[in-house]
């Protein structure tokens, strides 16, 4: 294994659910700390599965995954918990808890980590003000608009200052103006050192950002259309070529 400590590293990862077909095949990639990638691809290409592997919701059927420089196959189940606390997730369907207020939803990651109430109240309030929901602290998600729910979901993902932020279609339910505002928010977080992987159908948004793109087609990872110096590899070429490419311009090394 390479000695360089990638934030996320996949080596020939394959994934199938039960006895079904492989939804991901021979995925190899390496994402540097502080990088910012878009993940694109048509519906059913395997984007959500790839993200679920990154945020530790699934174990791969084959291959090796390293996160924060640690080989996951060598970690006991309980050792994954501290890693999960370093990951923020924005789900495609938000997955807010409907009976909890906006405040309690955003506070949840801190409470789960055992942060005292006295310490978390100010941070949660400040973050909700920052995303423009200062007057909706006590509102329950079902009473809020889709855009407001999305901002709560994003606030919840970033409240614990994660090292890695995963977002699945975070701009899927908002207009272009809000999408740009969210992109700006992600850019700011990236400048502060957070590594981001954002799955989106919005090719325009990805292109506008000028960030490298991971492109999935039929469960295989290809070089994205945004990065001009990368070209798609022929289907037969699946060997891991990440070694020696890692860290260059913080672009993903893919095979």
């Amino acid at each position: 294994m390479s000695s360089f400590a990638a934030m996320v590293r996949f080596e020939n990862v394959g994934m199938r659910y039960g006895r079904g077909p492989e939804v991901l095949r021979d995925i190899s990639l390496s994402l540097e700390p502080g990088s910012f990638h878009f993940l694109t691809g048509p519906s059913g290409a395997g984007k959500t599965t790839l993200l679920r592997l990154i945020y530790l919701a699934e174990r791969p059927s084959r291959g090796l995954i390293s996160l924060f420089g640690k080989d996951l196959s060598g970690l006991a189940r309980r050792e994954l918990t501290p890693l999960r606390r370093r990951i923020g997730i924005v789900f495609q369907d938000f997955r807010l808890i409907p009976h909890l207020s906006a405040f309690d939803n955003v506070a949840l990651p801190l409470r789960v980590a055992g942060t005292p109430e006295s310490k978390l109240r100010g941070n949660v309030r400040e973050l909700l003000e920052w995303v423009g929901l200062a007057d909706k602290l006590e509102a329950n998600p079902p009473t809020l608009s889709g855009g407001e729910q999305q901002r709560i979901a994003i606030a919840r993902a970033v409240i614990a200052s994660p090292s890695l932020l995963i977002a699945d279609e975070p701009t899927g339910n908002v207009d272009d103006a809000m999408a740009l505002r969210l992109l700006h928010l992600f850019e700011q977080m990236n400048k502060l050192g957070t590594t981001l992987v954002i799955a989106t159908h919005n090719a325009v948004l990805a292109a506008r950002s000028g960030r490298p793109v991971l492109h999935l087609e039929n469960g295989e990872l290809m070089r994205g259309p945004v990065s001009a110096r990368q070209t798609p590899r022929p289907p037969s070429a699946k060997a891991d070529q990440t070694k020696g490419h890692a860290g260059q311009n913080k672009e993903p090394a893919v095979s």
Binding site: Y55, L56, A57, E58, R59, R77, R78, L80, T81, P82, R84, R85, I87, I89, R95, I97, P98, H99, L100, D104, A107, L108, P109, R111, V112, A113, E117
Partner: protein, 318 residues
């Protein structure tokens, strides 16, 4: 400051709504079983204290002097009283003297006609008096503790001074009564254990249903970095709450039922409290405390079962 709401919306779980009712029913049955065990224990102690350390000596009835057309037909009379060479009281005085002089016997008192009348009243009513019947005369004998007399030797000596005298040490029927009571006690304890098992299975079922109903919230907490113990604690706290609530309701119902049963048993007891064939449903103070502990036990069993069920299920998550 109000405490934060639990992250898992338990009020939307289907099966959990029925759990307090199920627990109430189980605590009700458990309380009745436990009360039966404790009441029977008191009855056993009552019978043991009343009868252990005592004997009854039964002397054949003395026939009325005249007219006496027929001898008494009591099977236990082995010798005609008329031929009694010892005395004309059927050997009562001699038997009393012998008993009082026997080592290991601390006292011997003949039962008067009134006492005998009270003994037969539950069976024959008050219409007949002892004078109407050829009843054996009874001597209540109290034994010294620690050194019981040799009953076989005593029987032989009694036969010499009071022909036809029989010693009844109550052991035979007391042994049968104790055997029956112990059997009922064991049955009640088995029922109690079965109720506990059903309670555990019920909580497991409800918890597993809850895990299915709330799987999205659980996965969310898991992905946020919640430890298994954090998620299990949420279920444990809810199960404890439901178990205590159901247990309290069950205890209330069983308390009312026990008071009613006690009242009914008291009303049917023969001849008041002094002489009762069936001991009243008496529960002492600590018995009520034990019953009051049932809801707490139900809550703790529910909480612990829920916790272990959740911990076992969460192991399936990556």
């Amino acid at each position: 400051m109000k405490s934060p709401s639990p992250a898992i919306p338990f009020d939307r779980g289907g099966a959990a709504r029925f759990m307090p009712w199920l627990v109430a029913l189980m605590v009700f049955l458990a309380a009745l079983s436990l009360a039966a065990v404790m009441t029977l224990q008191h009855a056993l102690e009552f019978w043991d204290a009343s009868l252990a350390g005592t004997l009854t000596v039964e002397l054949p009835p003395v026939p009325v002097p005249a007219p006496a057309p027929a001898p008494p037909s009591n099977a236990k009379v082995k010798t005609s009283p008329n031929k009694n060479p010892v005395s004309n009281d059927g050997g009562l005085a001699a038997a009393l003297a012998l008993l009082r002089a026997t080592p290991g016997i601390s006292g011997a008192e003949p039962l008067g006609r009134d006492a005998v009348a009270r003994l037969i009243a539950p069976f024959l009513g008050n219409a007949l008096s002892p004078e109407d019947l050829d009843l054996p005369r009874l001597i209540d004998v109290r034994l010294s503790t620690g050194a019981p007399p040799d009953l076989a030797a005593l029987q032989a000596k009694l036969a010499a001074v009071a022909p036809g005298a029989v010693i009844d040490d109550h052991r035979l029927w007391l042994d049968r009564l104790v055997l029956f009571a112990r059997s009922v006690q064991i049955t009640a304890l088995v029922i109690l254990a079965l109720i506990g098992t059903v309670a555990v299975l019920t909580v497991m079922f409800v918890t597993r249903t809850g895990l299915l109903v709330h799987r999205e919230a659980i996965e969310l907490l898991h992905l946020m970095g919640a430890r298994d113990g954090y998620i299990a604690h949420q279920f444990e706290r809810e199960a404890l709450r439901l178990g205590l609530a159901g247990g309290a309701a069950g205890l209330l119902l069983s308390g009312l039922a026990l008071l009613a049963l006690g009242h009914a048993a008291g009303a049917s007891a023969f001849l008041g409290d002094a002489v009762t064939l069936v001991p009243a449903l008496h529960l002492k103070g600590w018995n009520w405390l034990a019953l009051a502990g049932l809801p707490l036990a139900a809550g703790l069993v529910a909480g612990l079962t829920a916790r272990l069920t959740v911990l076992a299920t969460l192991l399936r998550l990556p």
